[in-house]
């Protein structure tokens, strides 16, 4: 009971909650200014998310990559590094899964498992490249991440066009059915929504993330480097190898996103002009979720639901889906600039409370 009261009094819960409320209110004001009806809009948003089993299933489908992307960014954040290259790691993961799914012939369940592992491995290797450049040559990870995103994208174009081109289309050949990780009976239950095993793997990953950070030696080292790199080095930790290890884990999670999208949702890979954008959304998810397991779960769920519901909003109330993107941006803005919220909070509190570190 005491714990709950403490949590309710702490800023770490109120800042995200108030950011969300403010974001939704400002969104409503903008809709009013644009001549739309915000009540109808939010109503259709919620109807779209919970309206039918199909919609609930598709919302879950939308949430999975966002949570994973949030985790990938968060794990690097906790180590004091910024992984803005999840985009590229997603592409490499997709490519790995696609190659296994399309080129190998394996028995059903094994095929999916191998494809998932290879996808994660591809993403992990792509991620650790960033860290290797950083520790060996001092290259800032933001620069190399963004460059590697494009390199990954164009590598995928070359590989698909050379080995797996489907004539007359702008996508690869589909994966073999044996590599699919869709759950047919659950999909039927949800009216044909694209539900896959990735959904359950995500739950394990969230628990694993918490356990790894707080209960393992590697996780302890990771946090130590995140708090103070030099102190960690002085304490005898190998900061370089921790950075590479962390970026490998981060990249592998990124790779899993692509893997699930290929094996569970699309079944093929498009020759896309741009990367998906999920990796960038992950930064927002991690930020709002304050890099914690529970936080990422909640913020990923919120963003996924909002993104999916945005379609209902434009259908039911003619509100352009960009408005939801704007609401999300405002939420992130206030979550990232907590001083504004703290001022607001102070007004409503009897005695000034010490800020926690």
């Amino acid at each position: 009971m005491n714990n709950v009261r403490k949590l309710l009094r702490s800023d770490s819960i109120w800042i995200p909650v108030l950011s969300i409320i403010i974001g939704i209110l400002i969104g409503a004001i903008v809709m009013l200014a644009g001549g739309y009806n915000p009540i109808l809009a939010y109503q259709s948003l919620i109807e779209k998310i919970f309206g039918s089993p199909y919609d609930i299933g598709e919302t879950l489908r939308q949430i999975v990559p966002l949570i994973l992307s949030g985790l990938a960014v968060a794990v690097a954040f906790r180590g004091g590094m910024f992984n803005i290259g999840v985009e590229g790691q997603i592409v490499m993961g997709s490519l790995g899964a696609l190659m296994v799914g399309n080129m190998l012939d394996l028995p059903p369940i094994l095929h999916g498992i191998v494809a998932i592992l290879v996808g994660a491995l591809f993403g992990g290797i792509w991620g650790s490249l960033v860290a290797i450049f950083k520790v060996k040559r001092g290259l800032n990870e933001v620069i190399s991440c963004i460059m590697l995103n494009w390199i990954a994208l164009y590598i995928s174009h070359i590989v698909i066009k050379t080995f797996m081109a489907e004539m007359g289309t702008s996508r690869s050949q589909p994966i073999h059915d044996s590599a699919s990780i869709q759950i047919a009976w659950l999909s039927d239950l949800f009216g044909g929504a694209r539900i896959h095993w990735g959904f359950f793997i995500v739950i394990f990953m969230l628990i694993g993330y918490y356990y790894y950070l707080n209960r393992t030696k590697w996780g302890y080292e990771l946090r130590a480097v995140g708090y103070n790199k030099h102190a960690a080095e002085y304490a005898g930790m190998n900061v370089s190898s921790i950075a590479i290890r962390t970026f490998f884990i981060s990249g592998a999670i990124g790779g899993l996103i692509g893997t699930f999208e290929i094996l569970g949702v699309f079944k093929y890979m498009a020759i896309a002009p741009n990367t998906s954008g999920i990796g960038f959304d992950g930064i927002a998810v991690a930020l709002l979720g304050m890099n914690t397991s529970v936080g990422v779960l909640l913020s990923g769920t919120l963003f996924g639901a909002l993104y999916y519901g945005a379609q209902g909003m434009s259908f039911g109330a003619d509100v352009p889906p960009e408005v939801i993107r704007m609401v999300i941006s405002i939420i992130i803005f206030f979550a990232a600039a907590p001083a504004a919220i703290r001022m607001f909070l102070k007004m409503f509190r009897r005695k000034p409370k010490r800020e926690e570190g």
């Binding site: 409503a28 009013l32 009806n37 915000p38 702008s170 379609q311 434009s314 007004m347």
Partner: protein
Amino acid sequence: MKKRINLMLVFVLMVSMALTACGAKKTEEGGAATGEAPGGKKLKVGMVTDLGSVNDKSFNQNAWEGLQKLKADFGYDVKYLEPKQDSDVDPSLNQFVKGGYDLTWATAFTLDDAVTRIAKENPNAKLGIIDSSIEVPNVAAVSFKEQEGSYLVGVIAGLMTKTNKIGFVGGMEIPPIQRFSAGFREGIKAVNPDAKYIENYTGQFTRADMGKSAAATMYNDGVDIIFHASGLTGNGVFNEAKERVAKGEKVWVIGVDKDQSLTFGDEVTLTSMIKKVDVAVYEISKQLAEGKFPGGKVTQMGLKEDGVGIADTSSKNVPADVLKKVEEYKTKIINGEIKIPEK
């Protein structure tokens, strides 16, 4: 404390009042149809764009205008959705299909997998797709013979180039865009075999900056006419040409899909290759109401069907003798005397 709570109450009240006030303002539109609906039915027709926007001044906008004409003429209930990422495509189509719409249009080549899948899952729904030749019993596919229209603008470019160098800026290297390039190339070759043809696929439909730099490279290389088939990327081609024309250079752009001289002006737009997506959408939707829905068939829209052609405003910049030549070739293509490759 009490004061603060009061303050907050006032704030909440204000917001909720503002919100309810606008709730009542909702007006009912529609119902102002001028014509009699064929078959006596008022259909609900939906449309899902590709990842672009319905205001792209080109392809999607064209399709949406077709639907709006249906609304104006027969009072149809029309609506569109713009998916923002690949995974939104299925739910968007399903929104219409499961939402009881009589017909759902998908206005892009890239949506054909999704349309095929959803059409098979919902055999009672009717769907339409532009730029595709899939054959599914409940899908009406529309495929344009871009190569035929492009051949005609190729004839114009071949006859009008002063430098004997002609460029093509494409979006992604996909079959519909390859048809543009092939037709254009063959048209040039027919009237001016010596002209050099330079082709550049930017890989993007939405990047005006890439269109601008592609155009700059070509113009610097001595090209004086560029044909673009690249959606919003082409806006950059126009901008580059405009800057050069302002500096006194003599360069031209050939527009695509719609009459782009209306958007970008006659001083840079030589002519435009028109793709009548709106006509296709309009006609096929009407056929559904009349009980003649062409499901499972691929409707070919070429010169013969008046599905492609050159803009009516072409005579402003293209001399009459060139236009006469264009007419000659048009007749030959319609008669089948000229066969144009698709690649």
